[in-house]
């Protein structure tokens, strides 16, 4: 631990050298965390429950993306237009993930809507374990590698901007995540369905009385949240080129931390929280050995929960007596 520790005072030069690079890394990572966080926050906003299985949905998205890439390539070379392949990977991952998300809601959460909280949490835990081990049994424990090099034209793979090295994939991921977040914001703000969602999140019962089909809204929330989670799975696969059955666990924790950091229940909060968390982690890597990167996340989580449990953009709602 001591060996890897670099204090900024001792080597300011190195720090300044690494800073822009880590900012770019942080932004990429942050965008992905934000996509995962949105799924948590939307479900929490409407059902008031922590969807433990969301990390697994992300993992399933990653696996779907891998299969699409695998089936569309021969000897690690894609035989289709790369843009079309990436598009297909993301779209199919979103479809499969939202399908699993909806099934989860239908069979594990809906029967428990009026049950005590701990039952719902345990059911969610059960879904998470089931999905993870389902994938383990049918896909094996070995990590799958995304052979992405053929997806990008040779000259574009790495771009130098001064001292900063940016891979093409990173740029793509940043663009895609922010595009998706923008679309979601528009959808929530401008469309009728978005309005119904906001109403349901505020008061589920009242929304029912006003003629909103709450079950449909909940299914929709699971579709959107799971689709974004699945997309995040593919994007991380493209970035770090690996997926295995266990990635959902860590990603789930990160996404949840991001959601809490931004204020759980708030969609802009989830976006902000995700980006901030990504930046924090990347900057921490400058000072700490990377094995302790995850500790940073948890420390942030605990500090936020203790100092400001409502998060950065969350609102405090007094308990009804």
């Amino acid at each position: 631990m001591i060996q890897g520790l670099i204090l900024p005072g001792q080597d300011m030069h190195l720090f300044l050298l690494e800073l822009p690079q880590q900012l770019v890394n942080g932004l990429t990572l942050g965008g992905v965390y934000a996509l995962i966080a949105i799924g948590y926050t939307m479900v929490y906003g409407i059902l008031g429950m922590l969807n433990f299985a969301h990390g697994e949905i992300y993992m399933i998205g990653g696996f779907t993306g891998w299969w699409v890439l695998h089936l569309l390539s021969r000897n690690h070379q894609v035989f289709m237009n790369s843009a079309a392949v990436i598009f297909l990977m993301i779209i199919l991952a979103m479809i499969v993930s939202s399908f699993v998300g909806v099934l989860t809601e239908r069979f594990a959460y809906r029967p428990l809507r009026n049950a005590p909280r701990i039952n719902l949490l345990l059911s969610a835990l059960g879904v998470s374990i089931f999905l993870r081990n389902f994938v383990l049994n049918y896909q094996g424990a070995k990590a799958r590698t995304f052979y992405v090099s053929s997806l990008i034209p040779k000259g574009l793979q790495i771009i130098h901007v001064g001292p900063v090295v940016i891979s093409f994939m990173r740029i793509l991921v940043i663009i895609l995540t922010f595009l998706m977040m923008g679309l979601l914001t528009l959808m929530i703000k401008r469309t009728k369905a978005g309005k119904a969602m906001r109403a349901t999140a505020q008061d589920l019962e009242m929304a029912t009385f006003l003629g909103i089909d709450v079950d449909r809204i909940i299914v929709m929330v699971f579709i959107i949240g799971s689709a974004l989670g699945g997309a995040a799975g593919v994007l991380v696969g493209l970035l770090f080129t690996q997926v295995d059955y266990y990635v959902g666990f860590q990603a789930g924790l990160k996404g949840f931390t991001a959601a809490v950091l931004g204020g759980i229940g708030s969609i802009p909060g989830a976006m902000l929280g995700g980006v901030l968390l990504g930046l924090c982690e990347s900057l921490a890597v400058i000072f700490l050995p990377s094995e302790y990167k995850d500790v940073v996340t948890f420390v942030i989580l605990v500090i936020v929960l203790i100092v400001k449990p409502t998060g950065l953009l969350g609102e405090k709602v007094p308990e009804k007596v």
């Binding site: 029967p111 005590p116 666990f249 924790l253 995850d294 929960l305």
Partner: protein, 628 residues
């Protein structure tokens, strides 16, 4: 099992002897060493499941760091009795050391995270468990402490006063001995003020706090006790395995323990033991399906939660007491409910051995000084001041949304006023926690009834005594005189208080769950629960709501009787003006958070502003005054 505790000492000891004999003989009947080992490991699982049952079952806390506590116990033993650090402490020192250390860690984790509600708690504890695992894996460089992935192995043999535990049979005795201690201990905890406090907390945290249960402390206690048990189990496990690895204390193990507790039914001790035994042995028969084991645990959780949340073994006849059905006669036909209410067709009068002795005095009991409460942009109370005199019955009236219940929430400590002060008998109480305010002497009921519906009538009443009893875990576990004395007093007091309502809450109803009571009886029970706290000021929020005219009359008389005979000071919110007229010494009317009238019932009822608040502006309606 409750019957077991009711049995005489000699019957009890013969039971204990019988069970002990079985467990002395059992290891010798195991077909081979393999099964003996499974038998021994089952003992560890039983301990773990019972410990988790305290946290998740009794107190309802979703603790995902439980398995890390198991690990802390195991690694503490590993570090203190092996060559890893060259420390070789005797087992009898390491065991308590590890257990108390684990408890300390549990306490520390609990005190930072217990302010968080269910889901947040789950995620923080999960994060803690992950950090712990990361530590185990990474603390091998630069100094090798935990041994990383390779773990630590080769421990000193257990030495109990010169008696070395080496053989598998000896281990089975040792581990099952501890499993018994844990079983016994959790039974004692369950049937104590702690057990009742936890159950109340699990059912309705706010109501538990408002009736005087220190919920923060009870959660911490559950956490610490769970950690203590897990730590002990960890030591025994490490010694049995003669090695520890990070993946002994990982997420899958946690899931298995949770499945055991859920399968047995949260909080149900025999059920949890059965669940632990079942899930320890069953997988041995399903070896060839090993890969599907974890998957099926996931399914077990989902299916049980959807179909049988009380656990598979929750309500099997021989495990739980046969319920008598007093609402049916000998032929099994349903008796009329009035027959039950008024035994033998007579209305049982409220016992009034004591003559009315108390009346209103001029001494100030409660003083509310310029209190303002804002909710976002809404001002629920605006610079409100009032006093309640000792032994006075003061009624608060006002239209819906006038701020009556908000006032109660402020006095009882559920909200902290935005501005202003509240004094009780000269002592500042604003900003104190609700349970603290109960022990100072103010207790409340709730407008929409917050009983602990799955607890019995008797236990509901006994929870009210929590703030007046002091027995700690040591007292409870060893049945020290303090616990025994307090339990006896609590029981007597509960019988007395429940007896104030005639036969409505007594007899067979003592053991009936509150949820099966009629609406009026639930209201009565809620009042009884407040009387258990020995508070001097009662805040009654619409005690007659939902009652028929006969019941309303009775409850009105009862409230008056409480003041006259027992000298309670009573602050009452009431919508039924007949009730208000009948019993109030003084009436205060609120509207939009402001006091609009104060004085005798007649004055207030005829006050122009009050009439306006209730009926709209004069001249727009036909009636110009309230019926007096």
């Amino acid at each position: 099992m409750q019957r077991f505790f009711a049995q005489s000492r000699s019957v009890k000891s013969s039971w204990v002897a019988g069970v002990a004999l079985v467990f002395i003989l059992l290891p010798h009947f195991m077909p081979n060493g393999y099964w003996l080992r499974i038998y021994t490991v089952t003992g560890i699982w039983v301990m773990l499941a019972l410990g988790l049952n305290v946290v998740a079952g009794f107190a309802g806390l979703f603790d995902l760091s439980y398995i890390a506590f198991f690990g802390i116990g195991g690694y503490t033993f590993a570090l203190l009795s092996s060559n890893q650090l060259g420390i070789h402490l005797p087992f009898l020192v390491v065991l308590p050391l590890a257990a108390f250390l684990t408890m300390g860690v549990g306490f520390a984790l609990g005190s930072t995270s217990l302010r968080l509600k269910g889901d947040y708690l789950a995620i923080v504890t999960l994060a803690f468990a992950e950090i712990f695992k990361l530590m185990l894996l990474n603390l091998e460089t630069p100094v090798n402490i935990t041994g990383g992935v390779n773990g630590i192995y080769g421990f000193d043999p257990i030495n109990l006063f010169g008696l070395k535990v080496r053989s598998p049979v000896a281990y089975s005795y040792l581990i099952w001995f501890f499993a018994f201690l844990v079983t016994f201990g959790t039974y004692r905890l369950k049937n104590s003020r702690y057990g009742r406090g936890w159950e109340a907390l699990r059912e309705d945290e706010l109501a538990a706090e408002a009736i005087g249960v220190n919920t923060t402390k009870m959660k911490l206690m559950a956490f610490a006790i769970g950690a203590f048990v897990a730590g002990t189990a960890g030591v025994l496990f490490a010694s049995l395995q003669n090695s520890v690895f990070p993946n002994n204390f990982d997420f899958p193990q946690l899931v298995i323990v949770y499945c055991m507790v859920i399968l047995g039914g949260l909080g149900n001790i025999p059920g949890v033991i059965a669940g632990a035994i079942l899930l320890s042995i069953l997988p041995e028969f399903l070896r060839e399906y090993g890969a599907y084991r974890m998957m099926s645990y996931g399914l077990i959780l989902i299916i049980l939660m959807a179909l049988r949340p009380q656990g598979l073994l929750g309500e099997i006849g021989f495990l739980s007491k046969k319920k008598k059905r007093p609402d049916k006669d000998e032929t099994g036909r349903l008796r009329a409910s009035t027959e039950l209410y008024y035994e033998n067709g007579k209305v049982v009068p409220i016992s009034r051995e004591r003559k009315p002795v108390y009346a209103k005095t001029d001494k100030i009991a409660l003083e509310v000084k310029g209190v303002t409460q804002d909710f976002g942009g809404v001002r629920a109370l605006d610079n409100l001041s009032l006093v309640v005199h000792e032994r006075e019955i003061l009624s608060i009236i006002g239209p819906n949304g006038a701020g009556k219940t908000t006032l109660f929430n402020l006095i009882s400590g559920i909200y902290r006023p935005t501005e202003g002060r509240i004094l009780f008998e000269g002592q500042e109480i604003s900003g104190l926690k609700p349970h603290k305010i109960v022990s100072i002497g103010i207790v409340r009921t709730f407008q929409n009834l917050r009983l602990f519906s799955k607890m019995t009538v008797m236990d509901n009443a006994k929870v009210g005594r929590f703030c007046r009893t002091k027995a700690g875990p040591i007292s409870i576990l060893f049945h020290l005189p303090r616990h025994v004395k307090e339990e006896k007093e609590t029981e007597e007091k509960a019988r007395e208080v429940l007896g104030l309502f005639g036969t409505r809450l007594t007899g067979y109803r003592f053991n009936q769950q509150a949820i099966f009571l009629s609406y009026a009886n639930r209201r009565r029970l809620e009042i009884a629960r407040t009387l258990m706290t020995d508070a001097r000021l009662l805040l009654l929020d619409e005690p007659s709501a939902g009652m028929n005219p006969q019941e309303t009359k009775e409850i009105t008389e009862f409230v008056k009787f409480l003041r006259d005979t027992y000298g309670y000071t009573i602050l009452l919110i009431e919508h039924k003006l007949d009730v208000v007229r009948e019993i109030s010494d003084r009436v205060i009317a609120l509207d939009y958070g402001v006091k609009i009238a104060e004085g005798s019932y007649r004055d207030v009822a005829n006050n122009e502003k009050v009439v306006e608040a209730y009926l709209g502006r004069k001249g727009h309606g036909k009636r110009a005054g309230l019926k007096i």
